[in-house]
């Protein structure tokens, strides 16, 4: 296996991007990644593009080749759309990583995109529910917020996690987003405001939930041995994991997402580092409770201690393990097919030392992207070289 590095990243802002089509967003993010890498676009051999509900919400399929034409990629480029619910972009990145690591390609563009704001909340909820197992659980009316509410109640029951600790994730991430021009919400919130916001699916309230958003993000990958031909600050991918959980929420093994546990183990084994070596992380906080569960599944904290860690400030920008310095999905927004690469964009900026909410001199960063009822997860560990 060859070592692989990220040599360029690009993104749109996340939020309500009125008037921007799914094509425009994907094309801009991909183009910015190509320009950031300084690579001749005709060198790119493959495009993996993450997207989840573009077919349902905006009626656009066959996205990857459509975007490749807009970008002016060469006619021998292999274009593939990748879908794994909210983990689509994490998987797209991993496809590119593996094909370079294995020697099949030298230059791959990985992107992700979603257009959500043009549809109503109910229509979005319906489209997102397409990732539920229709045969066994979809017909009950369970939703993804509902799944994380089931997890939250069980986490509080088993570990004594408090509703205040859960709410503190939102307060922290909203504060982190103040400096992030890419975030949808750039206004602080308070514990009282989170706790008094409207119930969505008990015990989760409006401010426990990430906002519907539009957005796109992308990265260009190449073998590490030639990465310095393009950039002074290549970011090496030292670990990549992709795990499977359960297609039904009733199969959950405690308040945890098994897919993340396996993805993290795979990524840490490959990287030869441990969770305590990670200096900065972007993890999948689609709901406040999700960040707590993710932080335990990855191994940053012992099982059941994630809530207390937030309360003790361990996950703040100046904490032991800064989590979601971008503001996370809770503040940036969650354009579901783009999120995984949006996280990688933030980590690359951190490891280059050029983030708006910079952690002090980070060497190792981690991005963790989750899909459906904890069904699929990717973990990417990156290092400044």
């Amino acid at each position: 296996m060859r070592s692989v590095s990220i040599i360029g990243v690009g993104t749109t802002n996340f939020g309500i991007l009125e008037g921007m089509s799914i094509k425009e967003m994907a094309a801009l993010a991909c183009n910015r990644a190509i320009l950031d890498a300084g690579i001749d676009r005709k060198e790119i051999q493959a495009l993996y593009l993450g997207n989840y509900i573009g077919g349902i919400l905006v009626g656009q399929e066959t996205l990857a080749p459509v975007i490749a034409c807009e970008l002016g990629l060469k006619k021998s480029v292999a274009c593939t759309k990748v879908e794994g619910a909210c983990c689509s972009a994490g998987i797209a990145l991993r496809q590119g990583y593996m094909l370079i690591a294995s020697g099949v390609y030298d230059f791959v563009l990985a992107g992700g995109v979603e257009k959500m704001s043009s549809a109503s909340t109910e229509k979005n909820t319906e489209a997102l529910a397409a990732g539920m197992d229709k045969d066994t659980e979809g017909y009950t009316g369970l939703t993804f917020p509902g799944f994380f509410a089931l997890v939250a109640n069980r986490h509080m029951y088993e570990y004594g996690t408090t509703i205040e600790q859960i709410a503190m994730v939102s307060v922290k991430n909203r504060k982190n987003a103040l400096k992030n021009p890419r975030a949808r919400f750039r206004k602080e919130t308070s514990l009282e405001e989170v706790l008094n916001s409207r119930l969505i699916t008990d015990p989760l309230k409006l401010f426990d939930c990430c906002p519907i958003s539009d957005g796109a993000a992308a990265a260009v990958l190449c073998p590490t041995e030639i990465a310095r031909n393009f950039t002074d600050k290549p970011i090496e991918i030292i670990g990549s994991g992709h795990g499977l959980g359960h297609s039904t929420s009733y199969s959950m093994e405690g308040p945890s997402c098994a897919a993340t546990v396996f993805a993290a183990r795979e990524a840490f084994d490959m990287a030869g580092v441990t969770p305590s070596d990670v200096d900065v992380a972007e993890i999948h906080d689609c709901f406040t409770i999700a960040e707590i569960v993710d932080s335990e599944d990855i191994g940053f904290f012992e099982r059941g201690k994630g809530g207390r860690a937030v309360e003790e400030g361990l996950t703040q920008v100046d904490g032991k393990i800064p989590i979601n310095t971008s503001g996370g999905l809770l503040s940036k927004g969650h354009p579901v097919g783009a999120t995984g690469l949006g996280q990688v964009y933030e980590i690359v900026r951190q490891l280059r030392g050029e983030h708006e909410n910079q952690v002090k001199d980070p060497e190792i960063g981690l991005a963790m992207n989750l899909g459906a009822t904890g069904l699929v997860s990717t973990v990417t560990i990156m290092r400044r070289i």
Binding site: T121, E122, T125, E126, T136, T143, R154, Y250
Partner: protein, 111 residues
């Protein structure tokens, strides 16, 4: 007052005897594609729960509705609706009984 408890239809693998919630197409334990219908008693307890207030379009006319993962006999679980009466509250560990089945699956009430 005695209440009638609905049984729950499950499927039993003809290869290894493992029980599954219906429908199942492949036995994840032995690979068999052959199953026979079986019923289990619709008595269980709440593993975890939520009340959905924002729903997909198709369910919007039903909000708020109550959902729980119910622990059943034979180490089976399912996701089901809870028919809460005025003043009742779902709690983890609370015994529940199955009362009916419709388009949204099985319904339980607090025991």
């Amino acid at each position: 007052m005695s209440r009638s408890v609905e049984n729950i239809s499950v499927e039993k693998c003809k290869g290894c005897g493992k029980l599954f919630m219906s429908p199942v197409y492949v036995c994840s334990a032995c690979g068999s594609e052959e199953f026979e219908p079986e019923v289990i008693e619709g008595e269980g307890k709440i593993y975890t729960h939520t009340t959905i207030r924002i729903a997909p379009e198709a369910f919007m006319d039903q909000v708020p509705y109550h959902l729980a993962i119910v622990e059943l006999p034979h180490n089976l679980r399912l996701t089901a609706r809870i028919d809460l009466k005025e003043g009742e509250k779902m709690e983890i560990g609370r015994p529940v009984s199955c009362i009916r089945k419709d388009d949204v699956g099985y319904w339980f009430e607090l025991r």
